[in-house]
């Protein structure tokens, strides 16, 4: 009856990587997504189609540190660990606080949230505007890939079977005095899956915009971000003219194409996404900086 299930739980990262080099495995970090994705019905273990590698205990994947101006976050840091860590930026903590509830935050990991590549992934809009990069390691070495290249579609990521995401790198995040806003719109105040996610990032120097970034979650197969639209704002003085704001909003109107599902409607998602963008661009907060 019950087929034999193979699972590995090595003490060290190198052992884990060498196993991944031999065999295509399902990787379980906290497991909070995987266990639901492959859930069977009551009383029966989930059906996971590959051998399993558990990684959430690996200390190599739980480090948080500065390197130059960058912040490095171990992929298997749980949300709770990040909430308690002094060098995690406040905006990221706010995003993490909006995730599920304490028991999930004690188990779910940042790396897991990224590799799950849900269109509604809670931390993703923020990681996109931080220009997050992922460090992937395999027995052959390591490579760094930008998050928007890594995530290719719902539950689809650019990870080779022998690779593991080991770190999330937020470049220059500790140095820049940027104004960052994150908004998660869910159907209720906890334990909700985002209907719309928005992250806005703006850096001003002497009343001129040096950098502006926007990312939208749950309004498409992956996060919506556009460097072309963002570029239009660089060099503009604040407060922005209402025609500039209208133009940016109109540009995003063209590329945000959400769907109807059991949680919300396309019209709602689009309207709210643009509302949040418009509000951010009008916001007095960053203009006083």
């Amino acid at each position: 009856m019950a087929e034999k299930i193979t699972a590995y739980r090595f003490d060290r990262l190198d052992q884990t990587l060498s196993q991944l080099n031999k065999e295509d495995c399902a990787i379980i970090a906290g497991g909070t997504d995987v266990m639901v994705l492959h859930k069977s019905r009551r009383g029966v273990p989930p059906k996971i189609p590959k051998p399993i590698v558990f990684i959430d205990h690996l200390t190599e994947l739980k480090q948080v540190y500065h390197l130059y101006k960058d912040l490095h976050i171990g992929a298997c840091c749980t949300y709770s660990e990040l909430l308690e860590h002094p060098i995690i930026p406040v905006a990221l903590k706010n995003a993490i606080k909006s995730i599920a509830a304490p028991a999930i935050r004690n188990r779910g990991t940042l790396g897991g949230n990224i590799c799950n590549a849900s269109p509604a992934g809670d931390t993703l809009p923020l990681l996109y505007v931080y220009n997050a990069k992922l460090l992937l390691r395999s027995v052959n070495g390591e490579r760094i890939v930008a998050i928007n290249d890594f995530i290719q579609g719902p539950r689809r990521v650019q990870r080779d079977p022998n690779e593991l995401v080991t770190e999330i790198i937020l470049p220059s995040v500790l140095e820049e005095a940027a104004h960052v806003v994150f908004e998660k719109v869910g159907n209720r105040n906890a334990d909700a899956i985002a209907k719309v996610g928005f992250a806005g990032y703006i850096r001003i120097n002497e009343a001129r915009i040096e950098d502006a970034r926007f990312a939208f979650g749950a309004v498409g197969p992956t996060m919506v971000r556009s460097l072309n639209i963002e570029k239009k704002l660089v060099g503009k003085t604040i407060p922005l003219a209402s025609s500039d704001i209208a133009e940016i909003v109109a540009d995003f109107d063209k590329i945000i194409k959400p769907i109807d599902d059991q949680r919300s409607t396309a019209v709602y998602r689009k309207t709210v996404a643009l509302n949040l963008l418009r509000y951010f661009l009008n916001s007095k907060q960053y203009q006083t900086k």
């Binding site: 019905r41 719109v185 209720r188 334990d191 909700a192 719309v196 709602y268 509000y279």
Partner: protein
């Protein structure tokens, strides 16, 4: 502990077992020789079964279906239209066709995947709107009632009216989300089948089993397990599960356990009826109401179930707490090929109150009245007739309750403050809303006298402990505690010496189902009388038993055909005031303050009453803005708790509430019903508050962020 004032709280009888988790709910139970059952369900909404192909079943695994039912193949409720196992036609997605039983759930689930059924699909009716269009077609209208002022008279009034206002109002599904999913176990014995599980109505189940198994009353026994929430969801639905496990247990001669997964529970169990309510009201120049016609359509789903009784309550409450001149109402239960809808706390009343409170609120705006002042003009008074030509006999304290709540909430100050400040805040707008409501306690009409005929029994043992022998379930509402208190106080016995074991039909007479806010008022009163009787004949150190039977107090007799008479023996009352903040960028609602004043005769336990207020209001408020369930092509779309979205601790706020004393002669210590009342005012108050914040009108609940954003977008469009 002896009880001075009955209302003073005592520790709950079942506290210890619940707080430690050691009280076994049905899914915690294992018995010898037990197998599991899983149901093969219809994947289509409407059609005929052509053939069924079973996989080869391993040894010890069997299929149980209609051919194993000794009695008629329907679940005995009211009508005979709900098959135990659908073997010919299927009428909704998820309808049980047969059951696979065996020891290992893993194997059962893989067998389920291998079952092949061929159907001849027929055109289904998916929505209430479709059903309304086809309501004259055969089989669509499952029940209908009409009553009130003659339509000729109303037509004449409308001719002379200044204006006629028509509104169409929609209410959505509501899912119970009792925390314990449905579960039922049939224990197989040579001489009897014992059915044990999560339930509200032991004798509904017992009667359904006697019919299905075609057996004598002694051949089946029903035992209530600790029940993890009911809210009406475990009123009639468990009868079907009980038939499934009992038929299977008899067929395979083993004990059979059936426990639902959450998603299965969300998709296949009964829900609150979605409704459409149409209002047509004639007004004079000053905005006074001259006449009103209400049409109510309930989406019954695929079977009649209890829908006709739900419709009765919806209709009886269709004028709210108001004395409306020249009132006429008509209602229908319509069949759709969707999951059957059924009992849910409030039982038709929440739809009607949401509708009438909304309509009266909108009428008040037309005449530029403050909504609450307008409502008070029409408020019923003691001695007024009900819309079914009954009488509001007892004192009505609603005016006092309103005054008190206006002060407590500083309603007028707040309202003015919000109106002043809202234009200054671009993103967030605040509003305040009220609702006035009642709940008719007990069964509609003559149900207690004609159908239930409740009997209670008290058993005293030699050690002078007294046990309550009644068929009512504690599903969390606290009757183990409250009913024990009534008996303890009447007998002047320490509360600890009064026992209330889990009901078992072998031990307890039929004191009726645990529904309709009847338990404290009706069963409690019978227990009070039984205790008086026992006290009169008390002999220490001796086994004694007393029985007490329901006696009907004749009022204006209820006639279901003409829909006239006293629909209820008594009414409980409530007033809510709710403040919200609306995020105009996202449409999200934040509850800021919630107030409630209630009158339930006399409170039997203050803490338990507060639990009913807070829990009922949380459900009622969420019904108005948060909980959203939809069906698409006959398929329920929200299959998980988070997609459906019942409130978390972060969605509710503390509630300021007060309960007014107004003892009712036929209730124990003056108590009336309380459990359902508390839900009813939530949705209409939250709607009114959202409307106040946004200075707009809505014609539906739930008012989700999607509804709000669409409304704001339309308003923006109108401005140009």
């Amino acid at each position: 502990m002896s009880l001075k004032d009955i209302s003073t709280s005592v520790p709950k009888k079942d506290h210890k077992g619940k707080v430690s988790g050691q009280l076994p709910y049905i899914s915690d139970v294992k018995v010898e020789n037990m197998v599991y059952g899983v149901l093969v369900r219809s994947p289509i909404a409407y059609g005929k079964i052509k053939s069924i192909q079973l996989p080869t079943l391993p040894e010890g695994y069997e299929a149980v279906g209609a051919e194993h039912i000794s009695g008629p193949n329907y679940v005995k409720i009211i009508q005979e239209d709900q098959p135990i196992f659908a073997n010919e036609w299927v009428n909704y997605i998820g309808e049980p066709i047969f059951m696979l039983v065996g020891k290992d759930l893993n194997i059962l689930y893989s067998l389920l995947d291998e079952v092949k059924i061929d159907f001849e699909e027929h055109q289904a009716v998916y929505t209430l709107d479709e059903a309304i269009q086809q309501k004259s077609a055969s089989g669509i209208t499952m029940a209908t009632y009409e009553f009130g002022e003659s339509l000729e008279t109303i037509a004449a009034i409308e001719l002379g009216a200044h204006q006629i206002i028509e509104e169409e109002y929609d209410t959505g599904y509501q899912e119970h989300v009792y925390l314990e999913p449905q579960g039922m176990l049939a224990i197989y014995k040579e001489d009897e089948i014992v059915v044990q599980g999560s339930m509200q109505c032991l004798y509904y189940i017992k009667n359904a089993l006697i019919s299905a198994l075609d057996c004598g009353a002694d051949d089946v026994r029903v035992v209530q397990s600790p029940t993890g929430g009911g809210f009406g969801g475990k009123e009639e639905f468990p009868s079907m599960m009980a038939c499934h496990v009992a038929v299977a247990a008899k067929a395979v001669k083993k004990s059979v356990m059936l426990v639902f997964d959450r998603s299965e529970d969300m998709v296949v169990t009964t829900k609150r009826h979605p409704a459409k309510l149409n209002y047509r009201t004639a007004l004079d120049k000053e905005g006074n109401i001259l006449s009103m016609c209400v049409d109510i359509y309930l989406d019954g789903g695929a079977n009649a179930g209890l829908s006709q009784v739900v419709l009765q309550r919806a209709l009886i409450n269709s004028a709210g707490v108001y004395n409306i001149p020249h009132f006429h109402a008509k209602g229908y239960v319509l069949k759709t090929n969707t999951v059957p809808n059924g009992a849910f706390r409030g039982f038709g009343a929440p739809q009607s109150f949401a509708g009438i409170e909304s309509h009266i609120g909108h009428l008040s705006k037309l005449g530029n009245f403050d909504p609450l002042e307008y409502k008070r003009k029409y408020l019923v008074k003691q001695g007024d007739p009900t819309i079914t030509k009954g009488i509001f006999r007892d004192p009505i304290l609603v005016e006092d309750m309103i005054e008190d709540l206006l002060n407590a909430s500083q309603y007028k100050t707040k309202k003015a403050e919000f109106q002043r400040n809202n234009p200054k805040n671009q993103r967030y707008k605040k509003g305040v809303g009220t609702s006035l409501f009642l709940h008719g306690c007990g069964f509609t009409g003559s149900g207690e006298r004609d159908h239930i005929k409740a009997t209670v029994k008290l058993v005293k043992s030699k050690d002078d402990r007294v046990s309550l022998k009644i068929s009512n379930s504690d599903m969390g509402q606290g009757i183990y505690t409250t009913l024990s208190k009534i008996v303890a106080k009447e007998l002047d016995l320490p509360y600890e010496r009064v026992l209330y074991p889990d009901p078992d039909t072998k031990e307890v007479p039929d004191s009726g189902p645990t529904v309709a806010s009847r338990t404290t008022m009706i069963v409690g009163k019978l227990l009070e009388r039984a205790a008086k009787k026992l006290k009169a004949q008390w002999q220490s150190g001796v086994d004694q038993e007393v029985f007490e039977h329901y006696v009907h107090r004749e009022m204006i007799p209820w006639d279901e055909k003409t829909f006239t008479g006293d629909a209820y023996p008594a009414y409980s009352w409530g007033v809510n005031i709710v403040e919200v903040e609306v995020d105009t960028l996202t449409g999200n609602i934040k509850l800021e303050k919630v107030y409630g004043n209630y009158e339930v005769g006399k409170v039997i336990d203050e803490r338990i009453m507060k639990g009913q207020i807070d829990g009922g209001l949380a459900q009622g408020l969420a019904y108005g803005y948060l909980e959203k369930m939809t069906s698409k092509q006959g398929r329920i779309q929200q299959k998980s708790i988070s997609d459906y979205g019942p409130p978390t601790a972060m969605d509710v706020v503390s509630i300021d509430s007060k309960v007014f004393d107004n003892p009712y002669a036929d209730g124990p210590y003056g108590a009336k019903g309380a459990g359902e009342l508390t839900l009813i005012g939530g949705a209409p108050a939250v709607q009114a508050a959202i409307e106040d914040a946004l200075q707009t009108s809505f014609q539906q609940i739930p008012i989700t962020p999607e509804v709000i954003i669409e409304s704001l977008w339309r308003k923006e469009g109108e401005k140009g």
